[in-house]
């Protein structure tokens, strides 16, 4: 008797929960590690954020999700300790610009160092081989968790996020194709095709960075086409491609298509493998895209 998917999910959820409990209990102190520095957590988080990227108080409030009064008090504390400077923004004198002082930068490095030591302390009792195993397991978990928490969002293909993702896609094609890749002129018509009502463009982001993208357009009655599908190199092997593909197929269905087609280049072996795994079968050339060598289709019904 094999386990059903639901039972598997149960079992896996248990493992996740067990891990969460034991890990946060042991390492949760890692967040409070800032406490070890003599600074309260809130202050330390703020200092850390200012160090990562200085900005206006408004900006910091948004990044940390703090109340303006609370932030003001935290800043005053850091200022009194000589760790940050809070100055008027010349562009808008209602605003304040926050930056680290030299002492603040040292303190920030101190926090970094402490964080590092915590990680080392955790590893210290283990043998070299076990450290390797732990690092590998955490890296694997990290990749998968990041992949699971990627957000898929339908955006305008002309938006900043979409253009950033497509730019990376084209850059990769240019690197990988033997003769390079020339995207040609991105016409307004291209963007139009990938916009409602006849198309859509989806960008997957993690921590605000685009990590995958893909578009759908209509190329005939009941026939959709998947275009510009790309997954960031660091993210391959986490199933992000399959997930995005499934998502795009769903978009096609919503557009009322019964069939979806796509073209690709033989160089992109992992993409071809993924399409085949996802149930696509190879078909004859259906367009004159000079970079396309292989053509696939899948029925959505």
């Amino acid at each position: 008797m094999t386990a059903t998917p639901v039972q598997e999910l149960d079992a896996h959820a248990c493992v996740v929960r067990r891990f969460n409990r034991s890990y946060t209990q042991r390492i949760g102190a890692l967040d409070d590690s800032f406490l070890g520095s003599g600074m309260p957590l809130g202050t330390a988080r703020l200092l850390f954020e200012v160090g990562a990227e200085p900005g206006t108080t408004r900006d910091l409030r948004a990044r940390l999700g703090l109340d303006s009064g609370y932030l003001s008090r935290l800043l005053r504390r850091l200022e009194a300790d000589g760790l940050v400077t809070v100055a008027e923004d010349p562009a808008d004198r209602r605003r304040r610009v926050v930056a680290l002082t030299d002492a603040g930068r040292m303190r920030w490095q101190d926090l970094e160092r402490r964080s590092d030591e915590r990680a080392r302390d955790l590893l210290a009792p283990l043998t070299e081989r076990q450290r390797g195993r732990l690092a590998a397991a955490l890296a694997e978990a990290d990749l998968l968790v990041r992949a699971a928490t990627v957000t898929l969002e339908t955006v305008d293909p002309r938006s900043r996020a979409a253009r950033a993702a497509v730019g990376k896609y084209f850059a990769e094609l240019d690197r990988r194709f033997p003769g390079g890749f020339d995207s040609g002129v991105q016409s307004a018509a291209d963007a139009e095709m990938l916009s409602p009502p006849s198309g859509a463009f989806v960008v997957a982001t993690s921590d605000g960075e685009p990590v995958a993208c893909g578009g759908v357009q209509t190329i005939g009655d009941g026939v959709g086409e998947i275009k510009r599908m790309w997954v960031h190199g660091d993210w391959r092997g986490a199933g992000l491609g399959s997930r995005l593909l499934r998502h795009l197929e769903g978009v096609c269905r919503e557009l009322g298509h019964a069939v979806v087609r796509l073209d690709t280049n033989g160089t992109l072996t992992e993409a071809v493998a993924m399409y085949e795994r996802a149930g696509y079968r190879e078909i004859e050339r259906y367009n004159d895209n000079p970079y396309a060598e292989r053509f696939f289709a899948k029925s959505l019904t």
Copy 2:
């Protein structure tokens, strides 16, 4: 050029930090998920712990790492809400036994459900195969992290902790030896041998549970012997045995021994393998222990 151990440690520490940051950012809310239940975190954690396994307040304090005064107050709150009962322990009337009421159990199940949903939400976007990979990675990380954070403590062999660990050890021997195992009468002399100044007994605990133990005694001039070394079944494969063995060798060194011996039974194959990996070589029988079949020694100089 191969990486030196220090470089490896750096790299591994980076992986740990990267994981910590991304995981707590995404899942950290999991701890606060209890907040979603309208209960303060501390109270919810306590209720959760009582539900997981009722026990004495002393027990709960150890498990949650709380101050006795604080715990007392939290319990009073839960009691006032009718979620737990706090009664005298008939075995020791200084102690209190805490248990859930019916209302408490319902509340506990609510917390469980919430916690479960969080875990499922994390897994939901992944494919079945990826879920398996994530669960495997987290389970591996969990085992190693638990092993790394085990505390080794030298205790009196007559102490409760030591007796609990040895009890489990003997129970396992009884299960594994074909003819069973009779520990005989644990004489006061036995405990004496494993106590200062001529010996020591070490218990490894995790979450207050004994997970491994081992003793050292003096059996001749400059000759120490390792006795009653045991690692909990769930903990094998995490290097805990090797770590304990190294620790006990250190104890031997502190006692001024140049050689350490030990005996074991052929049934305990993983133990024999570990001794050999740790540099022990097999020697002739040096005692008349009826359960011992194989004898090992290692020079500490």
